[in-house]
């Protein structure tokens, strides 16, 4: 026999689907099946049950072998390296709960550390752009109920946010969009003919790295000003045609992803895309939204925001928050050799940072808090496995449109395993002692 847990939140991507149904055994210990989830979400729930899962902290020995330890020993080591360091980096936070993030920030304030989340390699440049010219946006339900113009610019939801198109953006029938997909025109801008582009009414196969120019061309087209014959490999007629399609809608939205945030021009691409959106509000209603990756990277930005005033790359070394990506951002801190200890939680820089930055993590005292074995844990001195947030423990998370949703606990973690929040609390208490603040 088994029972079904409903309204389960999927702790994978920023789409934060909250309609999953998870089948668990009667004793509530094992997950037997997952419904309504995409392939990735289902795998996340099912893999949490893996037999070969690490369930105890382990220290890496000089010869590369691992030695098991207790959570207390792990907390002691973590507190020590953070308390001793002149400039510790506490990175990650995007795959854990806001409660754990908040506890982590207290540690960072006590140890005067740098705190950064995965926006650093995802939508950090979007945040810079938002700080430069703002962000006209909306919640995903607005898109579902009203949007008749959808633009995917440098993002590929068919692969990165698999249920986005069916829940919110292309297929759903909403209050004013009763015909679903038939109510909407879809424009995709991507240098590849992605599986998302294959669904588009208009696919602009842009010359890679020329998004800034093409976005600028759209703004010029709105104002019916002179345009060169070709911009970014797209003929001006096609640009004007797409520009008119945007203007002629009643409610439009631009979704953008790492295709623009990680390409040359970075924040400027987003800056110009936001300007395009702002311009379109002179003719109709338009919004723009970053396709946030990790399920709670948005939450990390929110908690950092209300506690310190900045959404990522926060430097607390002087006892108060400072912020300036390029100086206080993880990649630069690591590549420039500015930090002398690294703490990683809820992310995998080992896999997702350029190797030059990963090498710096390997050089200094380091701890990796992650349920999985990852390249980061592989190069860290200490690996602390923890319960899966959103599977084995609850906690608050924020969707890509900043809507907060309370993640649910579905099953118990393996015997004796701690949650992020529990482990961080141990570390916080120890750090307080070391800093004479207990």
């Amino acid at each position: 026999m088994s029972k079904i847990v409903t309204d389960v939140i999927c702790p994978f991507c920023g789409t934060l689907c909250d309609d999953l149904e998870v089948e668990v055994t009667d004793d509530g210990k094992k997950i037997t099946d997952v419904y309504n989830a995409c392939a990735i979400g289902a795998e996340k729930f099912l893999h949490s049950q893996a037999k070969d899962r690490i369930t105890r902290p382990r220290f890496q020995q000089p010869d590369g072998t691992w030695k098991d330890a207790t959570y207390d020993e792990a907390a002691e080591y973590t507190a020590q390296i953070l308390a001793k360091a002149k400039k510790p980096l506490m990175y990650g936070w995007s795959s854990t709960s806001c409660e754990a993030q908040s506890m982590g920030h207290e540690i960072a304030e006590l140890t005067r550390a740098c705190v950064d989340n995965t926006a650093a390699v995802c939508h950090g440049t979007s945040l810079i752009a938002i700080q430069d010219i703002g962000l006209p946006s909306c919640t995903l339900g607005e898109v579902k109920n009203r949007a008749d113009r959808i633009i995917f610019w440098g993002c590929n939801p068919a692969h990165a946010h698999p249920r986005h198109m069916s829940r919110y953006s292309i297929f759903p029938r909403g209050f004013f969009t009763v015909k679903g997909q038939m109510s909407r025109k879809l424009i995709v801008v991507d240098p590849r003919v992605t599986d998302t582009a294959k669904l588009a009414d208009v696919h602009l196969q842009i010359e890679q790295g020329r998004d800034y120019e093409l976005l600028n061309a759209f703004r010029v087209a709105f104002k019916n000003e002179w345009l060169p014959d070709m911009v970014a490999g797209i003929p001006k007629e096609k640009i004007r045609e797409a520009a008119d399609m945007m203007k002629s809608g009643r409610f439009g939205i631009i979704f953008f992803g790492m295709g623009v945030t990680q390409t040359i021009s970075k924040n400027h691409n987003i800056d110009e895309a936001i300007a395009v959106t702002k311009d379109l509000n002179e003719y109709t209603k338009f919004s723009i939204m970053p396709m946030r990756g990790h399920y709670n990277v948005t939450g990390s930005g929110e908690v950092l925001g209300w506690q310190f005033g900045y959404p990522y790359s926060v430097d607390l070394t002087r006892g108060f928050p400072r912020y300036n990506p390029g100086d206080t951002s993880s990649i630069d801190l690591l590549n420039r050799g500015e930090v002398d200890a690294v703490f990683v939680i809820g992310s995998d820089p080992g896999a997702h940072f350029p190797i030059s930055a990963v090498k710096q993590i390997a050089r200094v005292p380091s701890v990796c808090i992650d349920p999985h074995i990852t390249p980061t844990s592989g190069v860290s001195k200490l690996h602390v496995p923890v319960a899966f947030v959103g599977v084995e423990t609850d906690g608050s998370a924020y969707r890509m449109d900043n809507v907060p949703i309370d993640c649910r606990k579905v099953v118990d973690p393996p015997e004796g395993m701690l949650t992020d929040e529990e482990f961080l609390t141990k570390v916080r208490d120890r750090v307080k002692q070391l800093k004479g603040r207990a």
Binding site: T6, D7, I9, D18, D19, C98, E99, E109, L110, L127, I130, Q131, D132, I133, G134, L135, P136, S137, C138, T139, L140, G141, E142, K144, N145, R167, Y168, G174, F175, F176, R250, F251, K278, N281, K285, S287, G301, E302, V303, G305, W306, Q307, F308, G309, Y310, P311, L316, G319, F320, P321, R322, Y323, D394, G395, S396, N402, V403, P404, I405, D406
Partner: protein, 571 residues
């Protein structure tokens, strides 16, 4: 709990009618008690030559939630070089116009505020609002969910279904742990979802076939049907435009004939917020002028209305409101960064930085209007001081506003140093007003008045035995005439002592205890209403992007220390 006795201070308490006489205030178990009820061991606070008042009550400020945090996140320049390091019990603080949650709690407490209400909670984002309030130390807080552009409300009121509207409001207050019915640009914000607006109370709302006037009257009726502690709290249509005072008067008139029905001693049926932004004359920015007199005269004559001022403080600040179309209009004027969030089925919000420069005529006129309202109000129990933080200026400027209100000399100095002082004087009444606010009136406008309007008069805003022991002592001696107005600003900037629920939280301007902050919300019970529950279920299935079960689940970790005010509307 430690007992306290605050001795020989000049007490100002409108609840008991004490107007500065020397008296002792005794504190026991979190409450004010008779002097005789505290023991010999009670800690004595010498308030000789000082001013003693109840903790102040903030009735309208944007201090927690999605648009506040959007403002923080997108304005790094609002914090450059001004953040404060961790100090004793105090976490690090940052932000000038939009302080971090920590700084918000500390600053209020240091100024003697012990209760504050977040003025606009988007229901879909209620968790966020509560998470920020949880991280705002010391002060009790509550939040007003917005209803004025809500699809349920508009659909029920289109058919004049007051009881269903009330049942829905009760459900939403419970689901979001909200405190009152807030209305922002009724209908106009829904229209904004299509890039439109409703600039008068008779403009029809696109598709919903209802007018702002019908929404406003309907929500007043629903509010009184439920008998909530606070009244319908409104930010009317047409905010901030030359000539908007006419829309304001039209809006106020909608309250005529309604009488408050509640068990909390509240007398008004409508609270008009940040009235300054709604008291503008002229047809354009060129002949822009004050219509504060027209508005306050009407308010003075009608007892079923309370207002707050929304004083412009002449600072660089960040505007933020659920009035989405207004922020879009504003960014068109000052070309500064514009953020907007439309919220499915419910509301919207916009954020734009703004600099109120004393060198700009319009800004100086706005400054005058806010002060005029406070100075011309006949009943200080119905006119409250706010800055609509951070819209007209940061709440940390209250001491400066108090200075301007209590000192004609300070006002004169300010007016004379305006770049266009002649033009400003001719467009306003401020120069002709010599009234100086008394400390008793100040206590009415910042304590007893807002507490009564919020239906909290039995608990806070006064020093009567039995009330919460929220007490503040200021280094201000009413017996000594003020030579330099700066003395006023200094005294009210940093309290000598602040007590919150009987806990000594601030001493000589420093935080000594993080108190035991509570979240106030209203639990209104109504008759079972299957129709409304079915409508709710259907809307979640079809139109919301979140499931009803996840929308309704507000875990303990969001509201760790709730204080529910019960209302029974089942009869």
């Amino acid at each position: 709990m430690t007992e306290y006795i605050i001795k020989n201070g000049h007490v100002f308490d409108p609840v008991q009618g004490i107007k500065g006489d020397e008296a002792d205030i005794a504190i026991k178990d979190g409450k004010i008690v008779k002097d005789s009820e505290v023991g010999k061991s009670a800690k004595v606070i010498d308030a000789k030559g000082k001013t003693v008042m109840a903790g102040a009550v903030e009735i309208h400020a944007h201090i927690a939630g999605p648009k506040v945090n959007l403002g923080r996140i997108y304005r790094p320049e609002d914090k450059l070089f001004t953040s404060t390091p961790t100090k004793g019990l105090e976490r690090t603080g940052s932000g000038n116009s939009i302080p971090s949650t920590f700084k918000t709690g500390y600053e209020y407490a240091k100024m003697g505020y012990t209760t504050a209400f977040e003025a606009a909670m988007p229901p879909l984002f209620s968790r966020h609002v509560h998470e920020e309030m949880r991280d705002t130390p010391i002060i009790d807080e509550g939040a007003y969910p917005v209803f004025g552009n809500n699809w349920f409300v508009m659909e029920y009121l289109k058919n004049k279904e007051i009881e269903n509207t009330a049942a829905y409001c009760a459900w939403l207050l419970r689901a979001t742990k909200g405190y009152a019915i807030k209305v922002v640009n009724p209908g106009g914000t829904e229209a904004w979802a299509w890039g439109l607006n409703c600039l008068s109370i008779h403009d029809p709302v696109p598709y919903f076939d209802i007018t702002p006037a019908e929404i406003i009257k309907g929500l007043i009726e629903a509010n009184e049907f439920l008998g909530l502690p606070h009244s319908m709290h409104i930010h009317p249509n047409n905010l901030g435009n030359p000539g908007c005072y006419e829309t304001t008067l039209d809006t106020l008139k909608l309250a005529e004939g309604y009488k408050a029905k509640n068990k909390f001693g509240r007398e008004q049926v409508m609270h008009l917020t940040h009235t300054q932004f709604h008291s503008y004359g002229g047809e354009n920015w060129g002949n822009f002028e004050s219509k504060s007199k027209e508005v306050i005269d009407y308010v003075n004559k009608h007892k079923n209305i309370t207002i707050d001022t929304g004083n412009v403080t002449l600072d660089e600040t960040t505007t933020m409101t659920a009035d989405g179309p207004f922020e879009h209009h504003l960014t068109g004027l000052n070309h500064l960064k514009w953020a907007n969030v439309d919220v499915e089925l419910e509301t919207a919000a916009g954020v734009v930085p703004y600099i109120y420069s004393p060198d700009i005529k319009v800004c100086a006129i706005q400054w005058s209007i806010g002060l005029e309202l406070a100075l011309m109000a006949k009943d200080p129990m119905r006119c409250f001081i706010t800055t609509d933080h951070p819209n007209a200026g940061p709440f940390t400027r209250y001491p400066r506003i108090i200075k301007w209100l209590m000192s004609a000399k300070a006002r004169e100095a300010r007016i004379n140093s305006f770049k266009n002082s002649d033009k400003v004087v001719s467009a306003t009444h401020i120069a002709g007003i010599d009234k100086e606010l008394s400390l008793y009136e100040l206590a009415q406008m910042t304590r007893a008045g807002p507490a009564k309007s919020l239906g909290l008069s039995g608990r806070v805003g006064g020093l009567k035995p039995g009330m919460d022991a929220d007490v503040v002592v200021y280094n201000f001696n009413p017996d000594i005439p003020v030579t330099d107005p700066e003395q006023i600003e200094t005294a009210f900037s940093r309290a000598a002592y602040t007590f919150k629920s009987g806990v000594e939280v601030v001493v000589n301007g420093d935080v000594v205890n993080n108190g035991n902050k509570r979240t106030l919300w209203v639990d209104a019970k109504v008759k079972d209403n299957p129709l409304v529950m079915r409508d709710i279920k259907e809307k979640f299935l079809k139109y919301y992007s979140m499931t009803q079960s996840n929308y309704e689940s507000l875990g303990h970790h969001f509201v760790p220390n709730p204080f529910a005010i019960e209302v029974d509307a089942t009869q």
